[in-house]
Symmetry: C2
Subunit: 350 residues, 2 copies
């Protein structure tokens, strides 16, 4: 079955998705009967293009690899026509809009407006954008339901490592009491280097920046803001909460030093930046803070840039999943994963 897809934003995640769709075209058709058709792209920097009959993905990728704009797809050097994303979302004939613009964790905009426009004009939405998911999940999922549409957010936590789809299918029927994990690869990389290679904090952070794991301004990672956005999403989606980032107790890793980490190790413990949310009755309490875990905790063994989450459930006890937390292909895959979930529902025959 064919699905028409529109991309709003065509940076790293969008290009990761396009690369997968190109590389695995035959496999996706043979194994799942899934035939994606990219009918629209709009990007603040790379222009806009509406192609109802579908783009040649390989040609598009070659264009982008050459530093060209998407609106040069038809004629080289064409003047950029930057269609307003809201117009494009409304006009295009996509079944699914992949919202892949930048994250603004203070307002959730402009992504939230794009998502609303899509849901109001009959399009399913998938996104890896933490802003709308952390700030407006309740409103957006309600809007989707009212319109018999899907709003899926797998890529907002742990990139394409299954979190929401795991709870929705593999753990269906369980009530989740607590979710606890390592949700920021940058800080986990820094802590791993400090313990395993005896680096001081500044040295480990500089290495993370050199390798591209950390931004020039590392505040969002090392002060825990990134993990806060993710634990808010998990609280609201999996525990039915209505938290905002301000409700989360937050402490970053900047107060840790090598001495503390070495002492902990000698005592059989390991420091991790742990994001945690727990439901007691109607109350949900969430926090992000460095914790000394015993080495027997499944989360203690998670090293480097990996992420992991432990779900505490009523029927299955504790279930832990570990995998990549970031990456071009990995986050591109999160979008494919959500689109395939929609495709499965739409093509369910029995």
């Amino acid at each position: 079955m064919e699905l028409k897809i529109g991309l709003v934003g065509c940076g790293t995640v969008g290009q990761g998705l396009l690369e997968i769709l190109d590389r695995k075209r035959d496999y996706l058709k043979d194994a799942y009967g899934f035939e994606p058709r990219i009918v629209a792209i709009t990007d603040k920097l790379k222009g806009s293009i509406l192609v109802p009959e579908g783009l040649d993905i390989r040609k598009l990728l070659a264009l982008l690899a050459g530093g060209k704009r998407v609106d040069e797809y038809f004629r080289e050097g064409a003047t950029a026509e930057i269609m307003d994303p809201l117009d494009m979302i409304e006009k295009c004939e996509a079944d699914v809009i992949a919202e892949l613009t930048y994250t603004d964790i203070k307002t959730g905009e402009p992504a939230t407006s794009y998502i609303k426009k899509a849901l109001r004009t009959g399009k399913h939405v998938v996104t890896s954008n933490k802003g709308p998911a952390a700030l407006h999940y309740g409103e957006l999922s309600k809007l989707a339901k009212q319109n018999n549409l899907h709003f899926r957010i797998e890529g907002t936590v742990m990139s394409g490592t299954p979190v929401f789809s795991l709870c929705e299918s593999g753990l269906a029927g369980n009530e989740i009491r607590e979710v606890k994990g390592i949700l920021n690869g940058t800080t986990n990389f820094v802590l791993s280097k400090m313990e395993l290679e005896g680096m001081e904090y500044a040295e480990a952070l500089a290495l993370a920046q050199k390798l591209g794991y950390a931004e020039a301004d590392p505040t969002a990672d090392v002060e825990g803001y990134d993990a806060v956005a993710k634990i808010v999403i998990l609280s609201n989606v999996l525990l039915g909460g209505e938290l905002t980032p301000a409700d989360v107790k937050r402490e970053g890793i900047t107060a840790l030093n090598r001495g503390l980490i070495v002492t902990a190790k000698e005592q059989g413990f390991r420091y991790k930046l742990i994001a945690q949310t727990r439901k007691s009755g109607a109350k949900i309490e969430a926090s992000v803070s460095p914790q000394k875990l015993p080495l027997s905790d499944p989360l203690a063994g998670v090293m480097g840039a990996q992420n992991a989450l432990t779900f505490d459930t009523d029927l299955m006890g504790k279930i832990t999943i570990q995998g990549a937390g970031a990456g071009k292909i990995e986050t591109g895959y999160s979008i494919l994963s959500d689109i395939l979930a929609i495709h499965r529902r739409l093509s369910a025959k029995f």
Copy 2:
């Protein structure tokens, strides 16, 4: 939506399922619109009962808890009418048959005949029985497809910890190159006790037997046969193989002693009984053997009776899931998980 369920076998797994359905009746209805109706039960020891209007699960559980037979449901002390399971499968009006009889890993019978009868008379099948899944998966899943029915086997590996549903939904679109893990809780418990508490093999095994983790005859666990059956299932279902248990290289844990384990630990390694299957081209190679894992391997941290699996995928790299590998409620949940998956498909509206 209501689903009519027939149980073939009502031992530990069946009673685990019934307990969950009783305890979570309101939740399953509210959260999933799922309303199970148990319309038939047949058990070699506990008799048979056909109740088209559905059994009162709590009344049935009280009966079983009192050591009574299921055919005493209507009148106490009734003479047992043991209906032939094949007759009952054919006659009952179940939408889904839960096949929960004993495992015969040499022949897969009588379970395989029960499953075929169900699929040939229009009933979906879910099972936690390793026999049919390890020996006849290809044939049974083909038969299901021909009849537009589901044949689901979540509980055959790692009880209700998501394995097949994880690959089917959360990892959809990935090609799996290798699956590797700890699939036998008894041997993992024994190895953990030998390392952490300095027990010798015989002592640790005796403790496992005392706690009910190991059988009086522990051969199936300690010689690796149980793990062999599971890695055959994973090879055939996830890698598209056609292996039989005889194709798997097998070595148990009986040759390990405390000295080997302590030496490995001093070198930063830990012995685990690892089941592994890998695809190279069209060839699939599977084995079960004790391996010395570096402590950085996510599988090295899996202690006690827990199970874990690492999937090596083309898009997401390595994804590891850890959870319970056995238990009454946990295996009962695996059956519910598969039934809910069928329910999702049948009730998919958009």
